[in-house]
Amino acid sequence: MIDKQLIRELQADLPVEPRPFKAGLIEKIRELQQTGVIRKFGAILKHQKAGFAANAMVVFNVPDESVGVIGEKIAGFKEVSHCYERPRFPGFNYNLYAMTHGKTSEELESSVRRIADAVGINDYQMLWSKKEYKKASPKYF
């Protein structure tokens, strides 16, 4: 059973003080890490402020039968934070998505070209983020 109250409590920002964990919390967090409910624990940065000013969602049109191999390869590049296969839809024949980050748009463009070359896919597009309307952590329970 999921302890919803605990999950709710854990979503509060950890205090920045010498003893930030309430009694008993450390064991509970470790348990949730072991079961994979908590994927990681630590600081989440605002990447634009951390010097990654250029951010693009890159979409590739990859033959269905090679998505596995190519997805793994693309995931291996340090510029890529997320990499997923998603369904194609009308007017959008792309099935592999990579969120990419760089210091400048020129630098990121050349990194993405290098990634595309490395996997031999030249049908791709960079969808630059023009405006960030929202970026938040999911709220559970």
């Binding site: 624990f41 989440i44 940065l45 969602m57 559970y140």
Partner: protein, 148 residues
Amino acid sequence: MDATDKKLLNELQFNFPIDERPYLEIAERIGLSEAETIERIKVLKESNVIRRIGPTFEGSKLGYVNTLVAMKIPPKKLDEIGALVSRYDEVTHNYAREHEYNLWFTLTCENKARLDQIASEIKTKSGIGEIYLLPMTKKFKINARFEL
């Protein structure tokens, strides 16, 4: 942000100790006092470099469902519909992008029914007939951490 801040941010992202005195441990690793470390973290939070300190959950293990959504909005209405979409707590990321499909957002919902309900509400409220739900079919990488 100086070299010490960068070291500190890397420790906070990649090696955060789940222990009684986490900031003291980090302070010792990078050669600062605990008080100085705490002070630096506070400054990094105030200047918004650090968004939050805490856990990242594997939503699926909590029973949640997640999808990316794409829409094609007339440019004049983009900001307005972008704002409408952002109002949902279940919307976690929402971006205007340079493409014919110019609005892209993610939904994280307690169940599929809620997800479909939000999609249909957005469709009605925005008056945009097409809304594409693009749940991932395979995950290759998820690591929103940045080595500085």
